[in-house]
């Protein structure tokens, strides 16, 4: 009597099985990877029964990109390939030589950067056909965004000596003010293809 009994160790051999079960459950119910994509802002809805107010955009401020049903590109009236689009967009937004066919430049003062000549009023209009393939549309959107981010990077390197993504929020805002993203998504027109 009064013998001290040792508590026997908990048998932990089934622990692995339990863990395996949990692991497999999580493998099945979850999905890898995060969502990535291109963010866009749609224009606010128009009140019904009202004509669309004609927007007066100077023709030289407008950069028209059209994609037809065969996924071909027509930029400013000339047919080009997707690869050339980025350079062409950059040239348009920057307007280095202040040419008359490219958008109007105006002097603005941006905090942290100072006075700068930017093409404030430029608009990139992206029009697509009903039969345009989604992949082609995204490729074009991607090239346009890439053109903007390259311009922003160049400016940020020359002004602050850093990549755009490494800047803090205030500096990023300043760069954004210099190169505002202006991509208009017009209602599609059924030009080109036979329907």
């Amino acid at each position: 009597m009064g013998k001290k009994r040792k508590t026997s160790e908990i048998n932990s051999s089934s622990m692995a099985d339990i863990a395996f079960l949990l692991l497999i459950f999580f493998l099945v119910t979850t999905s890898m990877g995060s969502t990535t994509g291109l963010t866009r802002r749609l224009p606010p809805p128009l009140p019904p029964d009202q004509d669309i107010p004609p927007v007066d955009i100077n023709k030289r401020n407008l950069f028209v990109v059209k994609i037809n049903s065969q996924n071909q590109l027509l930029v400013q009236g000339t047919e080009i390939s997707v690869k050339e689009l980025r350079a062409k967009t950059k040239e348009f937004i920057r307007n280095d030589a202040n040419e008359l066919t490219l958008p109007v430049k105006s002097k603005v003062t941006i905090p942290l950067i100072g006075e700068m000549e930017i093409t404030k009023e430029h608009v990139i209009s992206l029009q697509n056909d009903v039969d345009t393939q989604y992949q082609a549309y995204i490729e074009v959107q991607n090239e346009l965004v890439a053109a903007y981010s390259e311009l922003r990077n160049e400016l940020s390197k020359s002004k602050f000596g850093k990549e755009y993504s490494e800047l803090d929020e205030a500096h990023q805002k300043a760069i954004q003010a210099a190169y505002p993203q202006k991509i208009s998504e017009a209602e599609p027109k059924n030009y080109g293809g036979v329907k």
Partner: protein, 156 residues
């Protein structure tokens, strides 16, 4: 003096499995950290287009998804092979989109409502016609923040 060991039958000791649970738990936590709960069961096949400039989505709880694509193989018999829209767990028509957004929005917290983002997950072979219809409906429903889901293309 050097002792000479007697030859005896040596048995290979049993494999120590005591650390197995720890290893498995490590796996488990890794998977819990890197994966997310499946949003829905897919009824349409979506292979997203590629884009090098794709950004990561900031806030998943504020995002609602619209799937656009052709029905899965086993559903083709009943639903045909035309491109369809999937909202939540069911197929839907473009006209139901507005109601869907309104429902989803009212289910959210009030301060989060203006931040609602709609992710359009469309297959890369989708025609733009249907995407345009969706965009129009979203505009009418004032869900203006949209994201075109695209896979990140690495390299150039």
């Amino acid at each position: 003096m050097a002792q000479i060991r007697k030859k005896e039958d040596r048995e290979t000791p049993a494999l120590a499995t005591s650390s197995l649970p720890d290893i498995i738990f490590m796996f488990l936590f890794f998977f819990m950290a890197v994966t997310t709960m499946k949003e829905v069961t897919f009824k349409v096949r979506v292979s997203p287009p590629m884009a090098s400039e794709a950004e990561k989505l900031e806030n998943k709880s504020l995002t609602r998804y619209i799937y656009v694509g052709k029905p899965m193989e086993d559903l083709k018999k009943t639903f045909g092979s035309e491109t369809r829209i999937q909202l939540g767990d069911a197929f839907a028509d473009v006209s139901e989109l507005q109601q869907f957004i309104i429902n989803e929005r009212s289910a959210m917290k009030e301060e989060d409502q203006p931040l609602l983002t709609v992710s359009i997950k469309a297959d890369k072979d989708t025609k733009m016609g249907i995407v345009n219809d969706i965009k129009k409906e979203l505009r009418n429903a004032s869900a203006l923040k949209i994201i075109y889901a695209a896979a990140k293309k690495t390299g150039s």
